[in-house]
């Protein structure tokens, strides 16, 4: 199952490195690129939904992708773990690197890639199974050899859901609230022990309290994972992300440290979008 082609992931930026760099004076260059795109485009048939994007996603940080509806955020996100492979007519051009590996090159096994790069969808999509089996199912099917119960507990704890569900692990996941379901989906992704987490508007179906929960969670997660977060919520991008990328009509307009994007962006279009003077 394990391909030799995929190099071992760099798991670089951990707490020890983060402490000194916690409050950088200016936007530093991204330390270690975890995912990098180079002139990367995605076409649906002949229409470019992502157009020549060159973007570096540093390890151990939260990168937010913002932009108006239809500008290609989801498409770019789904290109990173090659979920677009299943969309008829979708085609990628240019380069996308994950840990130095050409994701669209001939040596990349997309299945292995998706084990390394977890994904959380806009609408919570738990399996119609018990809570326990939701988390344990994929590791088990992919040949996890450790203690499944321990893995489930650890994942649910990391997703800040353990205390709420520890007494009803065998109940159906569909009986949980929307926010709980979304955290379950995060736990499910974490249980595969990925090193990148892609989140496509994970809070858009949730109320403010559940949203706050998830935002806290993202804050915790970035100590262990590289997070890429698509969001329509400016405040959310401002609160949880380290870097923010602004996309418009499939193109990457600007990417920089979040506080710079939100206080003194380079591009007037970014300014307009952030202040809501768009259109």
């Amino acid at each position: 199952m394990v391909t030799t082609a995929m190099p071992q992931p760099v798991r670089p930026v951990r707490r020890e490195q983060q402490a000194p760099a916690a409050n950088p004076p200016a936007a530093p260059l991204p330390e270690t690129a975890h995912v990098r795109t180079d002139n990367f485009s995605v076409y649906y048939h002949d229409h470019p939904a992502v157009n020549r994007v060159t973007l570096t996603i540093p390890a151990g940080k939260v990168t937010a992708i913002i932009g108006p509806s239809g500008c290609g955020k989801s498409t770019l996100l789904r290109a990173i773990n090659r979920m677009n492979d299943f969309v008829p007519g979708a085609r990628a051009e240019g380069q996308l690197w994950y840990c130095g590996q050409d994701v669209y090159g001939p040596n990349c096994d997309p299945v292995e890639l998706r084990r390394r790069i977890g994904m959380v969808f806009q609408k919570p999509n738990p399996f119609p199974k018990s809570i326990f089996r939701n988390v344990a199912w994929a590791p088990k099917i992919n040949g996890y050899r450790g203690d499944l119960e321990e893995l489930v507990e650890r994942s649910l704890r990391q997703a800040a859901l353990w205390d709420e569900v520890k007494d009803k692990l065998d109940r159906s996941a569909l009986a949980l609230s929307g926010g709980q379901q979304q955290r379950l989906c995060i736990a499910r992704a974490i249980a595969m022990q990925p090193d990148v987490l892609l989140m496509d508007e994970p809070c858009s179906a949730l109320d403010p309290i559940a949203t706050a929960h998830i935002e806290d969670l993202i804050d915790q997660l970035k100590t262990q994972y590289t997070v890429v977060l698509v969001t329509h919520n400016m405040q959310q991008a401002g609160r949880v992300s380290d870097r923010t990328a602004f996309m418009y009509l499939g193109e990457l307009v600007e990417v920089d440290a979040t506080d710079i994007i939100f206080t003194r962006p380079n591009n007037p279009r970014t300014q307009d979008y952030i202040t809501g003077r768009f259109g």
Partner: protein
Amino acid sequence: MRAPKLHRRLFVNGLFRAGIYGLAFGALLPLFLILFDVFRKGLPVIDWNFLVSMPRATGETGGGIANAIVGSLMLIGLAAAMAVPLGVAAGVYLSEARKSRLAYFTRLAVDVLQGMPSVVIGIIAYLWLVRVMGKFTALSGGLALGLMMLPLVVRGTEEVLKLVPAHIKEASLALGVPHYRTVLRVIIPCGLPGIISAVLLGVSRIAGETAPLLFTAFGNRFLEFSPLKPVGSLPLTIFTYAMSPYQDLQAQAWGASVVLIVLVLATNIISRVVITRWKIQF
């Protein structure tokens, strides 16, 4: 000003409702008449003996249809053994590769097969098996019925798998579960009740087929369990007994009809129950 309008509307409403009920009743009436007639004539013939004993020699009264019941079950089993694996596999393919050219032609072929007259299918099975093996066999009857059942299983499976929510499939794929495992472990289990019900509907569709059996399974007055020998079947028994000049056999044809109808109704009802009661859980 308002009262007459209201009255008029209520009247039209009532009229309309009566019309709908009347037409619905009209549609159901033939079914009830048929069932009533068949059961009235067939039920008196049926007792335990009728179900478990063999036909008597011509001219003697009494005897049963055990050979036909066993033969029918065998033919259905053989047909399902051929049509279900092939049909489910093709249905999975069609629901996964919705847009491919091969899928388009497969769909077309399946639709053509579905429209094929049953006599023609019987002749095909005759050519393929009976002529080659040099004898009438249950196997060739099973093949004919299997060919009739195949399109129902294929299209039923395809339709039901298309209904499996895409977000569940995506969840599995995004977790690094390979496509084939996602199909086997998520998509098929989610669609299983629908697949089962498609198979059962296929069974009820072929259970009453007579024409394709005439020159394949052929019929057999004796109990036969070998798929390589000719076997009897309920529709064939009904056909031959109903044409016979003996009153006793004609009555037995009604009895066999009841047995066949109950078999078909039972598979239909089971498939309904499976579809509505089965919780998606895998």
